[in-house]
Point group: C2
Chain length 358, copies 2
């Protein structure tokens, strides 16, 4: 059963929780924007579900509630930013705003960040560019969960790629994908259901394709997009390394196997993640970009689909449907288990629990 | 049995063949550089093997032997180029040189081209940037061979992504991959061998995963990287659309299903391909880029590999091995069937056939 919470109430709860963990106004509001956007777009794994993790980072002092990002180096089209260990949402918004400004002046802005933290859904920052009529790209590294082709151990994060671009009216193209075959959360769901893993999701401790989700979770890892080598997994591995090259390597942040483990209890090290943001002004290239993009998208949506599905989609369509669902519901539908867990967390951190609509 | 031909002799043969088909000096030399690089790097499908196709484009007048690319629009960091239907190699070199120059001045250069043709291996242009100490990106659209997730017909090309970056000494990172699960050539090889297709390569006329290569070739198509939807194919489809957005859509060239068919006999339409070139100067970001990139690559090369393989590789390693093979052999080893076919072609186009080393 789902329970509806208004966006206003979710924001209130996130901001008060972060403040209770020691946060200051600006960073708390930045993170609330990103977490709410994740849930509204249906990416529940990256929204309210992770609030406790960010609060713990404040409480342990592994992220810095008093800091602000600083531009260390700059050209008219580029910048290197030191996130100074702020929340990733604050670093991301700072960097993408810089990229947008440069892109408006000179056609393109490329900004890399070091000293950052988990920035939520990668798509959030591209959406900022899209709102300004620009194409937006964001990339980040993350804690190791992905096993390179021919390897046996996790050396790379799920290293997502997001590219967002404005079509006509409210429509837009929104790619936001991990370079691993699937997210670890999907493997956990298979384990809970007691079902075999589909082909190409992950491998065991010997680097061999796993049928059992537990083998992937305990001492194996996620396969890169494409699965094993024979079906093209070396390309997903190449993309994950490419992301690492644009983020940790280009900025001088931590990279690959040197990034702290995902949700390790009592972690005291900072994340020092690397991120990449780019805004591109389509007006400096061919005329009529958004019109053509709309044609490309609508051409695909109108294709005859295979048996058993309603329609062919384009990147961003599932998220758009979920946004509509939230609008029609008057808020965000959450699984009651999450509402219950957030109630327990509210008590622990001494904040009023979220009110649901029913 | 392979026969060795010196690089000098391969170049001579390519240039004379293109001239015999009506070509002028500059375009012929540009294409020779790209085709030779493909063969030296072991990408035989994109080298001498395609010479006849380019000659036919000249003979039919579907590419323009007398034209030159022109910059139509420019900022300090960006440019829109009209390839004016020159050979893709000429358009690509022109655009990447422009991107390199801008990147040296301002940190980044982004150039899109319309009115272009097949430009050979995408990696060639990134290698130009790498030689200049920069990170190079190139993207192109191609004739439709790829079926979108949930669809039944080919609407997108293999739309490759190439990203190349300088490490220390002669070492470098070189991703150069189609966004389809595999190249069509690999499916053709399975058909010739009479073997079943591995999981995730392609689909039949109903969009269902195919075991029989003929089903893919005749009226099906290649799956995007990731294979069917369940194993992540929607991400490969998203990447292929993203490439199309940066090339055909951004530049105003032909796009997706509107691009002429691959190797259609008696084609009279021009290709009008779209391409994207970017050069990024790592020196404007964190210090020590190449040192860190070397560490990232060497870390992966040193990993313990799974049973049955020699080592974990990084993108570019297989190509580097093939370059070494060519250097050690005193030339490029070609399959004798290709030497025979080129002999027949030489007679047809009235050019001296290639001399082999033995």
């Amino acid at each position: 059963m789902a329970k509806i919470v208004t966006i206003r109430e979710v924001r209130r709860f996130i901001i008060q929780s972060l403040r209770a963990a020691g946060g200051r106004d600006a960073q708390c509001e930045d993170l609330a924007d990103v977490l709410v956007a994740a849930d509204v777009r249906g990416h529940y794994s990256h929204g309210l579900n992770r609030l406790e993790m960010y609060c713990e980072d404040y409480q342990r002092g592994t992220s810095d509630k008093d800091a602000s990002p600083v531009t260390e180096k700059e050209t008219a089209a580029t910048a290197l930013v030191n996130g100074n260990n702020c929340l990733g949402a604050t670093v991301g918004k700072y960097c993408m705003n810089l990229a947008i400004q440069k892109s408006k002046e000179i056609g393109v802005g490329v900004v890399t960040a070091k000293g950052s933290n988990h920035f939520g859904i990668a798509g959030f920052y591209g959406l900022m560019a899209k709102e300004a009529g620009l194409v937006g790209i964001s990339l980040t590294n993350t804690s190791p969960l992905q096993v390179p082709t021919r390897g046996k151990v996790c050396t790379l994060g799920t290293n997502p790629i997001s590219v967002i671009a404005p079509a006509l009216g409210d429509d837009y193209f929104a790619l936001d994908m991990a370079t691993s075959a699937v997210a670890i959360g999907k493997v956990e769901v298979q384990r809970r259901k007691g079902e075999e893993l589909p082909a190409g999701w992950g491998c065991d401790v010997n680097g061999i394709e796993a049928k059992d989700a537990t083998d992937v979770i305990v001492d194996g890892g996620l396969f890169p997009l494409g699965g094993p080598e024979i079906s093209g997994g070396y390309k997903g591995y190449g993309l994950a390394l490419m992301v690492e090259m644009f983020v940790g390597i280009l900025s001088g942040a931590h990279w690959g196997p040197h990034i702290r483990k995902w949700q390790a209890p009592n972690e005291t090290r900072t994340a020092d993640l690397g991120q990449f943001f780019m805004a591109l002004n389509p007006a400096v290239f061919g005329e009529g970009f958004s019109e053509r993009l709309q044609l490309l998208m609508d051409y695909h949506r109108a294709l005859e689909p295979i048996a058993g599905v309603d329609s062919v989609l384009v990147p961003g369509d599932p998220e758009r449907s979920h946004e509509t669902l939230c609008r029609d519901s008057g808020g965000i539908p959450y699984h009651e288990a999450l509402i219950r867990d957030m109630g327990i967390f509210a008590e622990k951190i001494k904040v009023d629990p979220m009110e649901t609509l029913d």
